[in-house]
């Protein structure tokens, strides 16, 4: 009985590991520039977020808001030409203050995820 059970587990795990080669998954934030929660001195020219999965550019975007909720980004969210996991949006010159980065993305296999974080530009 135990051997039979182990065989079933082995077959299922093999199926999972094999299937992983062809499947994508939910895209989560891997790292960002500026970093999540960072306090920086120099205003960034653009906001970059690296995700854990490749993205569908048409359904993926980053937005930047100031502390009053006003959208400041250049509305030009796009994938990096060489890295489909890297999403970029341009921003005008930002003054000192706290900013909210909001992202909504769709991974290559159409899973939707979203998130937000803040960063601060020191005066």
């Amino acid at each position: 009985m135990n051997i039979k059970l182990f065989r079933i587990i082995a077959v299922l795990l093999a199926t999972v590991l094999t299937a992983r080669q062809t499947a994508s998954a939910h895209a989560f934030l891997d790292r960002a520039e500026p970093k999540v929660g960072a306090k920086i001195a120099k205003p960034p020219a653009e906001i970059k977020i690296w995700f854990t999965q490749e993205l569908e550019p048409a359904f993926s975007k980053i937005q930047i808001f100031d502390s009053d909720g006003k959208q400041l980004d250049k509305k030009d969210s796009h994938l990096d030409s060489k890295d489909r996991k890297l999403l970029i949006v341009g921003v005008p010159k930002l003054a000192a203050g706290s900013y909210k980065v909001s992202w909504r993305v769709v991974s290559a296999d159409t899973h939707r995820t979203q998130g937000n974080f803040k960063f601060t530009i020191k005066s």
Binding site: V16, A23, H111
Partner: protein
């Protein structure tokens, strides 16, 4: 008239819940929050999930004339979203008991069938409410391992709340989340107790900390861990054993991967009736919607 007013309030509340509801998709998301499936208690999401295997171990010392035993359980749970926000699930476990000075006993427990419906998701406040009905099918398991010969029905209320909406001044508390499961069991045999079941899971999500609050530079795999403690209690309400509570406190940790989740928990009995030693449980959740996205991750019928 008296009946019409509460019915109207209930209808209004239901319509409000529908209006506020946002499609969760597969995986348990409410806004930015991912609620992981937990081990000792059930999470509030009606999504495609597959737990296999769940293996637990406990050693019970001899007491009150009963011999001691060593028990190993191996189980599974499979849930499928049938209609939007409504999932059906089945679960069972195989029990092996090595009884002191006696021959071992083993067999399947009764099959459990569960229906769960998400009535409200509030993304901004990372909040979810679901209702469910769990049915243990009497006679489906082996009597040798103590499976009941009668069925038990348990309506359940599930709640989930993430604390990402806390003010920035306490931002290190934002990764906390709480889920709850409350159930009232109704056995179909009159001489058995009704029981009230309570379960809570308090989680601190390091992925949420790193992705939404503060990049601390924590390396992998530590940034993929969710430490948690679960509380699982059952109180007999009447007949033999009325008023007695049994349960476990289960501290542990979950490891998140894009394709699966691994969990490990200790099972600490809250009193002598709940067990005589600390056991442990390990569990793997396989994210079917990420591995087989064309088949899982969406309801069978409807959008």
């Amino acid at each position: 008239m008296n009946r019409i007013v509460p019915a109207g309030v209930a209808c209004a509340a239901f319509l409000a819940a529908m209006a506020l509801h946002q499609k969760a998709g597969a995986h348990g998301f409410a806004g930015d929050r991912f609620f992981p499936p937990t081990i000792a208690t059930d999470d509030p999401f009606a999504v495609d999930e597959f737990a296999f295997p769940t293996v637990s171990y406990a050693r019970n010392r001899a007491a009150d004339g009963s011999p001691g035993n060593r028990e190993i359980d191996a189980g599974f749970e499979f849930d499928k979203e049938i209609f939007p926000r409504l999932a059906l699930g089945i679960s069972d476990r195989y029990t092996y008991q090595d009884v002191d000075h006696r021959s071992s006993i083993h067999g399947w427990d009764n099959l459990a069938v569960t229906a769960k419906y998400e009535i409200l998701i509030h993304p901004e406040h990372e909040f979810i409410v679901s209702l469910g009905l769990e049915s243990d099918i009497g006679g489906a398991g082996a009597r040798s391992v103590g499976s009941d010969t009668f069925s038990t029905f348990t309506p359940k209320l599930y709640l989930g709340k993430g604390f990402g909406d806390l003010p920035d001044s306490v931002d290190l508390f934002k990764p906390f989340a709480l889920t709850a499961e409350l159930g009232q069991s109704f056995p179909t045999r009159a001489d058995n107790s009704n029981t009230f079941q309570t379960g809570f899971a308090l989680e601190y999500s390091l992925p949420y900390l790193e992705q939404n609050v503060r990049d601390t530079g924590l390396p992998r795999p530590f940034r993929d861990l969710i430490p948690l403690v679960e509380f699982s209690f059952e109180t007999a309400e009447n007949r033999a054993g009325g008023g007695l509570t049994t349960g476990t406190i289960n501290p542990g940790v979950l490891y998140e991967n894009p394709y699966f989740q691994l969990g490990l928990e200790a099972n600490i009995p809250i009193n002598r009736r709940s067990g005589s030693s600390v056991g442990f449980t390990i569990q793997a959740w396989i994210y079917l919607d990420d591995i087989f996205p064309r088949v899982f991750g969406h309801p069978l019928f409807g959008e």
